[in-house]
């Protein structure tokens, strides 16, 4: 009986140890799974943080660069505009003194002819006015105009810079061929010419 009791004792303890080992093994497996899952999730979260960081970095880079590049483009445009405007001021200055140059008479004849042609009537009134122009030379031009054309020499330059204005007697049809009017009509061409000459563009 003592022998069978000893066997029962050993059997009970052996079963308990086996069950205890199972409990530990299950816990260790679960522990490994917990750590592995956490590591995988942490890696996923870290990758997401870095992915967002790269996007944010690109936004920061664009924000800094685009505003600065935009400001610099404006600086360039402003400088170019100032240069072109400076040239135009010199052009206006030169035009106000053009009456004393060799270019004046041929240009005046063209201006008057263009203006008369534009009005297209037989009773055209042509007014001219330039700074520093000899009245005698202006009057002599008037004598070459078609019959019926009235020629008026103004004391002051037309539109400040000088030029020619033609119209019919009733004043319904007027063609302004002053320097300033021509500058306005040739605006795009002038800007292109000045810009290409200065900047080579």
């Amino acid at each position: 009986m003592a022998e069978s009791l000893e066997k029962l004792h050993n059997r009970i303890l052996s079963d308990a140890k086996l069950r205890a080992a199972d409990v530990i093994r299950e816990a260790e497996e679960k522990a490994r799974q917990i750590v592995d899952d956490s590591r995988a999730q942490a890696q996923k979260d870290a990758d997401e943080i870095l992915s967002k960081a790269n996007l944010e970095a690109e936004n920061i880079r664009r924000g800094i660069l685009s505003s600065r590049i935009r400001a610099n483009r404006l600086r360039i445009l402003d400088e170019k505009n100032q240069i072109v405007q400076g040239v135009l001021r010199s052009v206006e200055q030169s035009l106000s003194d053009v009456a004393s140059t060799d270019q004046f008479q041929p240009a005046l004849k063209r201006f008057v002819a263009e203006a008369i042609d534009a009005v297209g009537t037989d009773d055209t009134v042509v007014r001219v006015g330039f700074q520093n122009a000899e009245r005698k030379s202006l009057d002599s031009l008037g004598r070459t105009l078609p019959t019926g054309t009235r020629f008026v020499v103004e004391d002051k330059p037309i539109d400040d810079l000088g030029g020619v204005v033609a119209g019919d007697v009733g004043g319904k049809m007027i063609f302004n061929n002053s320097f300033r009017a021509r500058i306005e009509r040739l605006d795009n061409q002038l800007l292109t010419t000045i810009s290409s000459t200065i900047f080579g563009e």
């Binding site: 009986m1 009970i12 409990v23 530990i24 816990a27 800094i64 600065r68 035009l95 002038l190």
Partner: protein, 105 residues
């Protein structure tokens, strides 16, 4: 051995077996708690490292962009200086061409 002693022996053995299992359960609980702590540490380490990398990436991006912006400023300043020289050198030709255009010769 009497019957009573045999029963007492079995009861003691059962109690010992119960302790073995209880000890195992206690150890299993400790293993799981330790695993949870390890999981938390792993997560904290990874996130902390990512946050540090993020700060470095943003700092480098900002510094690089600022450097590029300064470079753009310098290029622009150089270009503007060049424009001023071009203006001085070519102004008279530009004025002459513009006047020719206006006079229509």
């Amino acid at each position: 051995m009497s019957g009573i002693e045999a029963v007492r022996k079995i009861v003691e053995t059962e109690a010992q077996a119960k302790r073995i299992i209880e000890d195992a359960k206690l150890k299993a609980k400790e293993i799981l708690e330790s695993a949870s702590a390890e999981a938390q540490r792993v997560r904290q380490t990874a996130i902390s490292s990512a946050d540090q990398d993020k700060a470095r990436i943003l700092k480098e991006a900002r510094e690089k962009a600022e450097a590029d912006a300064r470079s753009s400023d310098e290029e622009t300043s150089s270009l503007l200086e060049n424009y001023k020289k071009l203006f001085e050198n070519r102004k008279e030709v530009a004025v002459k061409k513009a006047i020719e255009l206006i006079l229509g010769g």
